[in-house]
Each structure stands twice: as C-alpha cells, then as structure tokens.
Chain length 104, copies 2
C-alpha cells in the first residue's frame, strides 16, 4: 500500500478502518484522524514517540503531534491526497501496537 501515490480512502473504507482503531476519532470533516495517548510519565510518552518516529521515517509519513509530560496528542492526514489514506491507517496501527507494548 505504500507504493505509488497514496489514494484517499472512501468514507466506507475509512470508517471500517477506524472501527478497528479504538479511541481514534475523525476530525476536520474526515480529512484527519486523531487520538490522545496517556502514559504513566514522560518516559513512557517519549518512548512511544521515539518508536513511532522511526516507523514514520521508514514509511516516509509523519504525524502532527504534541506532548505535555505523560500525554501525546496525535493527528494524522495525508496532505498530498487531501485526507486519509492507507498510510495513515498503517501509522495509526503502529502507534496502537507501540502504545500497547509500553503500557504493558
């Protein structure tokens, strides 16, 4: 799914993908998906960000995110496509698995 130009998901595809991503919500008229992750302390939050940063480089697809101590707010979109593509879903799934491992 990362070969070639990323293609916008249809409304149905996007909602189906989101239904498998607990806590993720649509924003910006379906052009962005977001989640707030909360960890025990800063090291959990920044450990999460570090592993996700490596995945983002590998995918060449990067989140918009902010961090305040133990909290990370993430927002994903594929700007070149004007909304959500398979790249966003892949990165969101990676975030879910990293967060699960950190939270233990």
């Amino acid at each position: 799914v990362t070969e070639g130009r990323p293609v916008l998901l249809s409304d149905v595809e996007r909602r189906e993908a989101l239904s498998a991503l607990p806590g993720w919500i649509e924003a910006d008229d379906g052009r962005t998906i977001r989640k707030r992750y909360t960890f025990k302390a800063f090291d959990g939050a920044f450990g999460f960000m570090t592993r996700v940063a490596l995945a983002a480089e590998r995918l060449d697809h990067h989140p918009e995110w902010s961090n305040v101590y133990n909290r990370v707010d993430v927002s994903l979109s594929t700007h070149s496509a004007g909304g959500i593509t398979a790249l966003d879903i892949r990165l969101a799934k990676k975030m879910e698995s990293v967060a699960r491992e950190i939270e233990g």
Copy 2:
C-alpha cells in the same frame, strides 16, 4: 539552581535572561516563554527533541511541545511556581545549544 523549590524570576531577571536567548518570546503575560525551531527535515527535528528529552529528564523539568515534520514549537513554564524560573532558562539554553549543533 535546581535545588529546592524553583523561584519565580523577577520581570528584570526574566527579561535579562531572554535577551541572551535569541528568538525566544514571552507569552501568557510573562508566565510562558516560547520558540519555534525549524530544521532541514524530520530527522533534525526529532533528533533535537530526543536530546532535549534526555536533558528534560535529568532536570526533571519538561517542555510542552509540538512537532510537524521539520518544525518544533516549544513552550516552557514552571507550573508549580506559576511562571518562569531558572529551570526554564536552563532548559531553553540547552535547546539553543542542541539546535546549534544539529544545524551545524
């Protein structure tokens, strides 16, 4: 300066400290200082964040920050003191030196 409870800087002390921190501005009625750092690409921005994260843990004093690709927006305040203390100035100075090294 990190021993004991951090003490609010006076207006004069804060402005003197800021004058040695190019690009840093006051916000929130002098209770916060901010800067936007811009790097060549994501790896510069996240490399900066990683080194600053280690410094923040060492100081037990953490920034509020957000990242979009090559950009990092940082905001510092000592919430327990209700404004800017020597801790914020130390962390800001560390950010300056890390950014200088990354930008080379």
